[in-house]
């Protein structure tokens, strides 16, 4: 059964169409990777899924609630079932790691402070940061910030965990560690995971299914094998890393020749 169902989703900014009639079902418990180049609309789609923006038309149904038309309280209820890890972590700089992770528990639950402390410690330990709880986000490396953001996203035991560009800005070793963490979390918590990325290695390592976006539309949706064997030219270009705008050396040479000729005439 689909936990997220997107139907005929159209998003426009200032009359420019960013997402053009998208349809997608994400099944409960699967890891869906939204793949695509820069400007393909994958982050915009993610913002629609987590209810940060409303579309021009179409529906996004999360846990049987259409978040494009529901009330604010219904949206807040849905949001409590989604944990989000933003690209830069988006940890609150004024709070320590412990307070960042504890925030959701203190505000949205009636748990006793001692229980909250225990849960926070367990979550930080799960992402390998149990010794760094007293530090502020600005005192952490990029990889640590992302892991702390994962701990914060897990605080309310969400059904859906969303990652925006988890590998961006990380070295290959730390990126691989984060991939392992995603796989481990999925195995332990049995949650639905949505990952937005353009890192192919990471995408094929963690995905159950992939959806490839190009120019605001899905060009391929399928399992790892189906995507790898796809004949779609946009998928092939992306997977085979074929550049579309190659610098034209002849044009550059002729430009400099003309420039030199003009300066000789002036002299």
């Amino acid at each position: 059964m689909a936990i997220i169902s997107i139907r005929d989703l159209v998003v426009e900014y200032d009359g420019r169409r960013i997402l053009d009639g998208l349809n997608l079902d994400i099944e409960q418990g699967e890891t869906m990777v939204l793949l695509g180049g820069s400007g393909s609309g994958k982050s915009t789609l993610l913002r629609q899924i987590i209810g940060l923006e409303r579309p021009r038309s179409g529906t996004v149904i999360v846990n049987e609630t259409d978040i494009t038309r529901c009330s604010q309280s219904e949206l807040n209820h849905v949001r409590r079932s989604i944990g989000v890890t933003f690209q830069g972590g988006a940890l609150f700089n004024s709070l320590t790691l412990e307070d960042n992770v504890a925030l959701n528990l203190r505000e949205h639950t009636e748990l006793a402070p001692s229980i909250i402390d225990l849960v926070v410690w367990m979550l930080l330990a799960a992402v390998g940061l149990s010794e760094f709880g007293k530090l502020h986000p600005q005192e952490l490396s990029g990889g640590m910030k992302k892991r702390a953001a994962v701990a914060r996203a897990l605080a309310l035991d969400p059904e859906i965990l969303v990652f925006d560009e988890p590998s961006a800005g990380l070295d290959p070793v730390v990126a691989a560690e984060l991939d392992e963490l995603i796989l481990l979390l999925k195995q332990v918590y049995q949650m639905t995971v949505i990952v937005v990325t353009h890192e192919l290695t990471s995408a094929f390592k963690i995905a159950d299914r992939l959806a490839m976006l190009y120019d605001g539309a899905f060009v391929a949706v399928g399992t790892k094998e189906e995507i790898k064997n796809s004949k779609d030219p946009h998928v092939r270009q992306f997977l085979d890393r074929i550049p579309s705008n190659v610098a034209k050396t002849t044009a550059i040479t002729s430009f400099f020749e003309r420039y030199l000729e003009a300066s000789e005439v002036n002299q």
């Binding site: 987590i50 940060l52 949001r79 989000v84 933003f86 830069g88 988006a90 203190r106 505000e107 949205h108």
Partner: protein, 267 residues
Amino acid sequence: MATQLERVGRKTLDQLDYLGSLSIQLWVTLRFMGKALPFVGNRSRWKASVGQMLQIGVDALPMVALMAVASGFILAMQGASELRRFGALHYVIDLVAVGFTRELGPLLTAVAVSGRSGSAFAAEVGTMEVTEEIDALRVMAFDPVEFVLAPKYLAALIAVPCLSIICNVCGIVAGGIFMFFSTHLGFLLYLRYVLTSIELRDIISGLIKSIAFATIIAQVGCLEGFRVRGGPDAVGRSTTAAVVKATFLVIIADAVFTAIFYFMRKP
């Protein structure tokens, strides 16, 4: 001609849109104000409010006091140089006392707080927008107005009138020092004259102005922060805009309130 009209129309609509946004934001803030109050509200919001009060009030105290003392001297000296010609030097006391309680105290405080705290609000909220912290709050089912703005607004509502009273006292004391050195008027006698020249409604009108100025500074500062789109340069622009717009609106509001109190006072 049509383009000029179009431009004027567009600018007018932009200004109306801005005022509309300010009004809506103020309404939403007032709805959440209860959560920032002590005892009945959320403890962490009240704690944030107290922190903001220290920043807005205590940290600004030396600057506001110095500005008030300097302005008290200036007002007394300028008044004395003219009033001496008519043998009415004692009216300097009325000028300083009434001028500060009704006008200069609230206005000087508002200018100082706008420069210090209005810009700080815009920078803080703007940075939170850029680093996706505001989005993180939304997806964690928090309202950013409740979480970020309400504590700041409550702090401004308390700190600005307090600063304004201190500003009045410093300005009046400066006037007393001037009178002592220029006419050898004893300080206690000076204070007695001050108390006879000002009325309770002068103090109340000054406090009403302070509350209005605090509202403008907090709301404009945070709105500029919430409107940040893009990178760090946008935060810089929002900081400048917050100070300029808040100072401009404070002066306009001052003129409106002065006119209202003037016509209310008229027999």
